[in-house]
Amino acid sequence: MSALRFAWDEARGVARLLADTAQALLRARPPAAVVWAQAFDVGNRSVFFILVTLGFLGAILNFQTGFQAQRIFGDTSLIGAATLPILVRQLGPTLVGLMVAIRVGTGIAAEIGSMVVTEQVDALRMCGAGPVDYLVKPRVLAGLIAVPALWVIGTGAAWMAGLWVTHLAFQTNPATYVNLDLTRGADVAEGLFKAVVFGILIPVIAAHSGLQARGGSEGVGRATTQAVVSASLAVIVLDLLIGAVAFGLRGGAGA
């Protein structure tokens, strides 16, 4: 029961911070240079991690799909066409979201948490710069730019790794593998929408955890762990919810 209560309080706190951030964005935009620097930081910190992780997972997905296809149909020519929509709308945004939550969410929570416990956030407020304006807003805009870009890079890496592994394992012709016929605009829209949502929410959740830090370094550690757990859970739950809504909007699997 206490875990449910905690989750509810956490969700309310994140929702409040999200609303405050939206209001702050409507009042004034942060300097473009600050946002680009943050976006570059988010992208730079995650891109290698995402290339490696998504690359391996794309290879595994395509290998296993090809293995089953060969057993059942004796034909692997449609592997690329079949796995691309899954990567675009489902695995790409979700895995990128999880990687960003781990790699960037922890950094945001630790940085803001350290500022809280060393009273730098209080000092910011005394200087007339609220933490939402000064710390959260640029990071949310940075996430909004970087996560969709990472989704494109990660999905591309996964699919290309699949091309390589299916060619090696099943001698699938690369020209046959690169087949966009089964990928619809709706798949791209769903994947992009998820990437945008995760790009906004991960920094907000991480910043919320950082702002809740109390005590010393132990409190910063707790905030960092909390950030990665909450952001990862949010990515998984929202992935399912958005996927279900998109499925309904498309009118089922056939559309």
Partner: protein, 247 residues
């Protein structure tokens, strides 16, 4: 004038302030003292809205600020600045950018105007030559000096100092003491100072308020404090290990 009336504050089950009332007159220097964890910093942070009371009332220059919002406190923080226990300079900004921040945010100055003014403020504390350094590149004492310069940029009428001499060498500590005294004597700034430093307390304070177990134990002049027969006050003044003051 600042008035705290029956302030109560708890963090979870831990009661920190249990009905604290005190008044700070214009232009005076009041030291808040007490053992570590007595709630001194928590009390003074109420004044600038960094901590909100569970119950009680606070008046600032006659205005009831008890239910001020964060936006209401924005204006108050122009009139009442705070120097924190740690220098709290922002690591990613140079010293001059740190001092320029409140000028930009509170006065709406452009970056160039704010930096110009900030350089002038740093020159006043002999820090002009180091203005483009990052906080990590200078020592604790210098960081504290910059933090004080930052707090004074808006020429506030009220100052809150949270352990301003902690971690400073004796020479820099005396400089800070003199600054607090000068601000009061020359410009009529009202200061509320949290400190454990007896040399500073007896050298600068107009009045001393001692907190103990969440309440005001003693509120008087330095002379009254020195001659108090209260065993807790005596233990604090003498620094005796044995006594009624628990750990």
């Amino acid at each position: 004038m600042i008035e705290f009336e029956d302030i109560h504050k708890a963090f979870g089950a831990q009661k920190v302030l249990d009905g604290v009332s005190l008044t700070v007159s214009q232009g005076r220097i009041v030291y808040i003292i007490g053992k570590s964890g007595a709630g001194k910093s928590v009390l003074v942070k109420h004044l600038v809205g960094l901590v909100r009371q569970d119950s009680g009332r606070i008046r600032f220059e006659g205005e009831d600020i008890t239910h001020f919002t964060e936006r209401d406190f924005f204006g108050l923080r122009r009139r009442c600045a705070m120097v924190f226990q740690h220098s709290t300079l922002f690591d990613s900004m140079t010293l001059v950018e740190n001092v320029a921040l409140p000028i930009r945010r509170h006065l709406g100055a452009t970056q160039r105007e704010a930096l110009e003014q900030a350089r002038e403020k740093l020159a006043l504390v002999d820090m002009a030559a180091l203005s483009d350094r990052l906080p990590a590149e200078v020592g604790d004492g210098l960081r504290k000096r910059v933090a004080i310069a930052r707090a004074l940029t808006l020429t506030p009428r009220y100052m809150v100092f949270d352990e301003p001499t902690t971690g400073l060498d004796p020479v820099n500590a005396v400089r800070v003491d003199r600054l607090i005294r000068d601000l009061s004597d020359r410009t009529g700034v009202t200061s509320v100072v949290v400190s454990h430093d007896l040399r500073s307390i007896f050298g600068v304070a107009d009045r001393i308020v001692m907190l103990y177990q969440g309440r005001v134990l003693l509120d008087g002049t330095p002379a009254e404090f020195r001659t108090s027969h209260d065993p807790v006050v005596r233990q604090f003044v003498t620094g005796a290990v044995e006594g009624p003051m628990a750990l």
